[in-house]
Amino acid sequence: MSYLLRRIAFYVFTAWAAITINFFVPRLMPGDPVQALIAKEQGQLSTDAVHSLYVLFGLDKQQPLWQQYLDYWGQLLHGDLGLSFTFFPTPVTDVISSSVPWTLALVGVTTVVSFMLGTGLGVVAGWRRGSWVDLVLPVTTFLSSVPYFWFGLIMIELLAGPNSIFPSSGGYDPGVVPGWDIDFIGSAVQHSLLPALTILISSMSGWILSMRNMMVTVSSEDYITVAHAKGLSDRRVMLSYAARNALLPNVSGFALSLGLIVGGTLLVEIVFSYPGVGFQLFQAVGAKDYPLMQGIFLIITLSVLAANFLADLAYLVLDPRTRKEG
């Protein structure tokens, strides 16, 4: 019991620390939302508007930072994340909930696929060390060292076009109305192909690399030899004995990346104009949209912590030796 309580206290502390830091960090940044907006508009917004904006955002009254901090917690505990500045006066919750599904769908699916493919390839690459499979790693690393956006843009240039099945940007066709119908889903899937491919190709090599290295590490453990001696099929030895023991780092990495899914993949979303959270965060940072930033940070924090928890559980399941005895 006390172990459980300790874990809970641990997570609560981490969440508090992260949320606090996430409150103060953006506010340490120079500038304020109004100035950022004016700078962004480069003269399209007259300086007369400045005052109205300060009033609008409630920034005209000078509150000490700690007061704001307390207010923030007050709001937070009521489940209120405030109004976004960039999309004023839309509540942050609305802004986020409009983009989270996109990111979850795109990044979530690709993360899972990339993990599974990458780990699978890594298993084979480590198991068949010294054969042609060795080529897989440099090739995929080559692809993943290429900057996301560089790769994305080249893909757009090569694959997308007016008459191609790959649309170059957006989450769905401009004409389509979101809803659970064939048109929309088809269009959404179609629009996610290129970004998904980009994420997949550029993130897979990490999984391959770490899995391969671990496979090499465990490949000559005695229990592998025993497994061979038992006459188990090569597949079974590779998967259930070698890979199973080599899996721990990859799985913990995977759990962490699950937590970061909601954060989105900034550059890919930018390159493909994908309406996800990453892109929104990027904008929010640029616009000093504190409420939105905090909101996004909050969900990232919560999901990372949840993922961490998952990871902790995964260790226990995957490797009984990680359990603390006594």
């Binding site: 000559s220 005695d222 229990y223 030899t225 025993v226 497994a227 061979h228 001696a229 038992k230 006459g231 188990l232 099929s233 090569d234 079974r236 259930s240 004995y241 199973r244 023991n245 995957l318 490797d319 009984p320 030796r321």
Partner: protein, 331 residues
């Protein structure tokens, strides 16, 4: 003598390739007969484990089998060379025909699977059609056989004591009722009660199932008691081979005699233990001639020069034994 089951012929096993190679097993010829327990004893580092793993092609890199044959006399398919099997055939051959208990048995269990799983998966691999229930029942049976309460099925290896892990491996080796069981120091961590119990079971099973055992151990008294024949290894070669009782009462090779003079007796008056002076040979720089000659109290002039070959000694009643020593010229 009963018919042979496994004939090891002139087996050479090296670690490493080319000039770097260490010849850990040289020119070993040994026959395991149907239904017999063959004890293999010898100096630590003399190549017993290497022989056992080499003949089953389980030696981890950089081990290589440099030559020789291992003929398995399959009662159904006739004799064939185990070293020539394809990987696929080898897989089917393993465990079903020969199972092996590794020396590091304590370490050879997969740390992330429960011991129950590890027992059942070998059964499953060779009999994919059996039911999970049957497999579980069998696994419990095996654990009880080796004296582990069946409620330990769900334990992970690290939760078991050294001896318990060894016993799990022994149980696993018997899972498929193979024709040959190779056991490399399987009882180092077992108390004598348990040891006797398990070996007793083994002997009983052997009588019932008719399998053969290659038993590697340092415990000579155990060998004398349980095995039919004993082979003694020294410096990568077999130096003597004889029925168990005969070796004990009348060993030919000075090294065997030295071993017997080194073990303490539990009963009777404490006697002075002699031991064998000198140190084991360096496999990279083997002494010329007989490898034991630098330590041999009886060495004489041919020993340092010529390698004695293993053969039936020219003595009365020695027809069922072999020795490689110039003191005992072969027939």
């Amino acid at each position: 003598m009963t018919e042979p089951l496994i004939e090891i012929k002139n087996l050479d096993v090296d670690y490493g390739l080319g000039d770097e190679a260490v010849h850990a097993v040289s020119d070993v010829t040994l026959t395991l007969h149907r239904g017999e327990v063959l004890g293999l004893a010898g100096e630590s580092g003399s190549g017993k484990s290497t022989l056992a793993y080499g003949m089953t092609r389980l030696l981890p890199p950089p081990g290589v089998v440099a030559g020789g044959e291992v003929i398995y006399h399959d009662p159904e398919r006739g004799p064939y060379d185990v070293l020539s099997l394809t990987n696929h055939e080898l897989r089917e051959f393993r465990w079903a025909e020969t199972s092996i208990v590794f020396q590091g048995a304590m370490n050879s269990l997969n740390p992330v699977h429960r011991i129950g799983t590890q027992l059942t998966d070998v059964i499953k691999a060779h009999d994919p059609r059996g039911s999970a229930q049957a497999r579980n029942a069998r696994a419990r049976e095996l654990l009880t056989l080796v004296g582990i309460p069946a409620d330990r099925m769900d334990s992970y290896p690290h939760q078991l004591s050294g001896g318990m892990r060894q016993r799990v491996m022994i149980g696993m080796a018997l899972a498929l009722e193979p024709k040959v069981v190779i056991m490399d120091e399987p009882t180092t961590a077992l108390d004598v009660v348990m040891q006797r119990q398990i070996l007793g079971q083994l002997v009983e099973l052997r009588e019932r199932l008719g399998f053969s055992v290659l038993f590697i151990t340092h415990d000579l008294s155990l060998l004398v008691e349980f095995s039919d024949r004993i082979a003694i290894m020294y410096g990568g070669r077999i130096v003597e081979q004889a029925p168990a009782k005969e070796i004990y009462t009348n060993s030919f090779h000075p090294y065997s005699a030295g071993l017997l003079g080194s073990f303490p007796a539990l009963r009777g008056p404490k006697r002075e233990l002699t031991g064998i002076p000198g140190s084991p040979p360096d496999l990279r720089a083997m002494p010329t001639g007989c490898a034991f000659h630098p330590r041999c109290p009886k060495s004489f002039e041919p020993c340092a020069r010529d390698l004695p070959v293993l053969g039936v000694p020219d003595v009365p009643g020695g027809s069922d034994r072999e020795v490689a020593c110039w003191l005992h010229p072969v027939r």
